[in-house]
Amino acid sequence: MKEIESFIGYQEDIIEAIPSTILVVNRSQEVLYANRNYYIRSGKRERDVVGEKLSRAFPQLLMEKTNIEEKIRDVFLTGIPFDGDQLRYPDGMFYFYRIYPLKGSDADAKSAVIFMDDVTKLTRLEEELKDSYIKLENAFEELKENDELKSEFISTASHELRTPLTVVSSYTEMFEEELLGELTDMQKEKIQIIHAQIDQMIRLVEDMLDALRLESKKSKIQKSFVKIDDIAANVIADLSRLAGLKEHTISLQVNGKIPEVMGDERRIKQVFNNLLTNAIRYTDPRGHIAVEIEDEFQQVRVSIEDNGLGISKKDQKRIFDKFFAGGGGTLTRESGRMGLGLAIAKGIVEAHQGRIWVESELGKGSTFFFTLPKYD
């Protein structure tokens, strides 16, 4: 082909088109050839370089740092290419250099070619990446430390609160029992309020510790065979007074025969309690809450559906985080709530190797689901 023939004359042009710096040396390490890029970058002229020792072609510092003469010797000796290394120039540029033996008709290489590529941009990027990684790692460590400190603080605070709470609740009970003298009806009524509020405080302290315990994974759940449908019925009965205050109806539908699962009865009760209390709380009066329990292949699935306020897509992502009590006007923050109920429910379900999630539309209601595996 004519095209191929005419191309042969361009070989030199092709070499000059390569963006690398190229030098060819013989066994005595004298320069036989340097490409245009070399002259452009070094500012040297052909007569200063060709026929001269390699050490005249490169700055002394580079010769020492790279030990290039020894590497070239090795390439000639073994015939194996030197696959490359990075070199930092004093001006801040980075080069990657490689040495290949050039074999002519003889088996032994008479000359070797040195390629040098500017990898400054790539190296900078690599360094930035490393820097960012280290920064990220440090930030992560810091966050973890903060979280541990926070947990420690909550744990200490909760424990320190126990003794004063015991003192106050003991005296309250003594007043109620009239061990400290007879009370008027009005005093009795107020003491009952104090008592109820102290019980609420105690529950909050227990919730804080529960949330921490379940998070630490150290918590042990005490498993035995439990009947989920019975637990659900019990919790619904316990909450009927609270639901009645808002004239809600709560229904329980059990689909088929639900097998017993291995679980911690007290903890599973807590999951039902927390989910149902939320449903009651965040549904306008005369709402309906439907609890459904279903036997699915290897697990039992529970759903708790309400026709309440609903949860925005944004809040759905964070709703199981501890201390998240809703925002953006969807769930208004109520006093006495610390945003721990769902975090605790999640901790318990996950400690049972189950799953918990929510489906909801703002203004239409929410359905919380959780599963508990049937077997250990």
């Binding site: 126990r162 005296y171 009970e173």
Partner: protein
């Protein structure tokens, strides 16, 4: 009653005296050992975290003094494993604060009868 929190002692003294019990106090484990030898009470209510000598060690020492001692541990620390340690040391009951006064009274009365 062994506790280093003065109001805790006062509240329980008021409660127990109202039910006709006699109450003796100690504010740490070491004092508790001395008082136990003097008074030989029917029941000891033992806090756990106290200066000088902690509740678990004090329980052990009192049990060495009197193998029939009735010790109820009352603690603010609800750590798992702690209950086992206390029972192993010889305590008869382990009660976590805050408790219902009825719960404590029942425990004391059932032990005092033995």
């Amino acid at each position: 009653m062994v506790d280093d929190a003065p109001y805790m002692i006062k509240a329980l003294r008021d409660l127990l005296e109202a039910y006709g019990h006699e109450v003796y106090e100690a504010s740490n484990g070491k004092e508790a050992m001395v008082r136990y030898a003097e008074v030989r009470p029917d029941v000891v209510l033992m806090d756990l975290l106290m200066p000088t000598l902690d509740g678990v060690s004090a329980t052990k020492r009192i049990m060495e003094q009197d193998s029939k001692a009735n010790i109820i541990v009352i603690t603010a620390v609800g750590k798992s494993g702690l209950e086992k340690d206390c029972l192993a040391a010889g305590a008869k009951k382990f009660i976590v604060k805050p408790f219902k006064t009825k719960e404590l009274l029942n425990s004391i009365e059932s032990l005092a009868r033995t």
